[in-house]
Symmetry: C2
């Protein structure tokens, strides 16, 4: 018997999470396992094992499976072009590999698009016609909900908002470009912003942090800011300022006024959000001020599995 | 008798153009008149006079009328929030004023959206699911065709691509922000780029141009570049470089790969397009190189009237 469940798989660089959801989006059962092998074959095997374990546990086959994968994903053709966490992968038809092995219908999308989908259907963006999802972590991912649907564009990977160019001659980026937003408004940005401080201020900050510049993380900057360290508070403001510049560009291009912001860095929400909003408003028409919404995501670790499983419900 | 024609009106700061089109988008008849009075009442009267003249000339009422207006236009409610060419206007319900006077159905949109619509239906973007229209002139306007339709966003005025932030701490802009793309890639940009030249080079350039810095226009820069002036050629490259940065940001955010570029500055197409494309590719994923299309618009002066009239066909 096939129950009206779908399974969402969230493939991270470190962990593979999987969950079965029912028609209301509630998680019925879940699994997680460390990602050991990084080859496509190893990952596909791990996905299959999780799906089988979940189906055994719920005592039923599921209707379909949704995969959320980090990186450049061609959702239409089910191909991962490239993924930061799986450097060997190049144009790998992961969707077909999984579908063939489990004999179930499978859809696949970028992980940030899965987050966007979850927030749009059941989270902070519920009921909105348009929203932009931003995930602040090691990188800055994004997903566009336009006219109620995920928008993928011609390339299949719209929403690469971490690569909005905020400094045309700026820091080199992994995308082969430079000056991309995620250099200034994701985890690594704290090192960059600290490196731009006056030397004396920076040295004092690092002394209080007890780490070298290279080891400065958002967590450390948050701890110092909580202790009232003015330089650390300034780093968070700088982070927010750039985030706001990127948001302003999206407001101007897309005319979308609600941004749902998730990812690990949102633990420090209060440290950057005022600065982000002020900077976004500085760079957009004044009339937007009353309408611009920067909302904290509802889902954290479950966003990926829920979004992937909800996509499977919709698309399969 | 009502013929199956619609009228498009393109309201510029200097001229008001109007044309009747048939079902194939062919212009049946046209009118143009200088814009004398700038008040809403004067402009509405001028629109009405043109519509009446056209209807008299074609010997029939038309099905509907489309208005293209520069500035911040709320197409849904038919209100012009603000227009650079009509500084007195603030939240003026132009659509209703015209509709009441002519007793015909009227739609209204931003002029760049009308351009986008014309190119999408009958021009350089015909048959494309997604495209971005850029109009390079005094400002840098834009319009988004997403999934085959004009996308307006929540604000009603998506496509304000001239306000992509390319220099967060850059030049002040009329939108109240700073560092907006249109400061670097529209008419006024030539003065800015020239001001950044080495003083000796700049003085020589202006001497050859025979104008002061404030009077440096794209036309003058084009003439000098055609005469082989290296500094002028460099100004066009700089213009293209910034345009490419803006295009890269749109590619990354929207995943759209075709840009249709119109407006007066495209007369100098060959002077900036290579630089724009190189810069766009520098700031996007390498895999886009084979797919990125920067196309020259098909329509020039008629884009506005045709797009407005085509919108009237579609929407009314």
């Amino acid at each position: 018997m096939v129950k009206d469940y779908t399974i969402g798989v969230d493939l991270g660089g470190t962990n593979l999470r999987a969950a079965a959801i029912d028609g209301s989006g509630t998680i019925i059962d879940r699994r997680a396992t460390p990602v050991v092998g990084k080859s496509a074959a190893a990952v596909v095997d791990a996905v299959i094992a999780q799906v089988s374990a979940l189906e055994n546990s719920i005592g039923s086959k599921v209707r379909g499976i949704g995969l959320g994968v980090p990186g450049i994903v061609d959702w239409e053709n089910g191909v991962v072009h490239a993924s930061p966490h799986f450097p060997e992968w190049s144009d790998v038809p992961i969707r077909e590999f999984v579908a063939r092995a489990v004999d179930r219908k499978v859809c696949m999308d970028n992980d940030a698009n899965c987050h966007a989908f979850a927030e749009s259907r059941l989270g902070a963006g519920k009921g909105l016609r348009n929203m932009v999802m931003l995930t602040l972590g090691t990188g800055l991912g994004g997903g566009l909900i336009l006219d109620g649907k995920l928008f993928h564009g011609d390339s299949g990977f719209a929403g690469e908002v971490g690569h909005i160019v905020v400094e045309p001659e700026g820091e080199a980026c992994g995308c082969s470009g430079r000056g991309c937003l995620e250099r200034y408004a994701a985890s690594h940005a704290f090192r960059l912003h600290a490196s731009r401080l006056d030397a004396r201020v920076r040295d004092e900050l690092l002394r209080e942090a007890g780490v070298s510049l290279d080891a400065l993380t958002p967590e450390i900057a948050a701890r110092l800011a909580e202790n009232g360290n003015a330089a650390a508070i300034g780093l968070w403001r700088e982070f927010g300022r750039y985030l706001g510049v990127g948001i302003a560009t999206m407001v101007n291009v897309l005319g979308v006024l609600t941004f749902v912001i998730g990812g690990g860095i949102t633990k420090s929400w209060d440290k950057f959000i005022d600065s982000a909003k002020a900077s976004a408003l500085e760079h957009t028409y004044e009339r937007h001020a009353a309408f611009l919404g920067l909302r904290r995501a509802k889902f954290s670790n479950d966003a990926g599995v829920i979004g992937a499983a909800l996509q499977a419900r919709d698309l399969i």
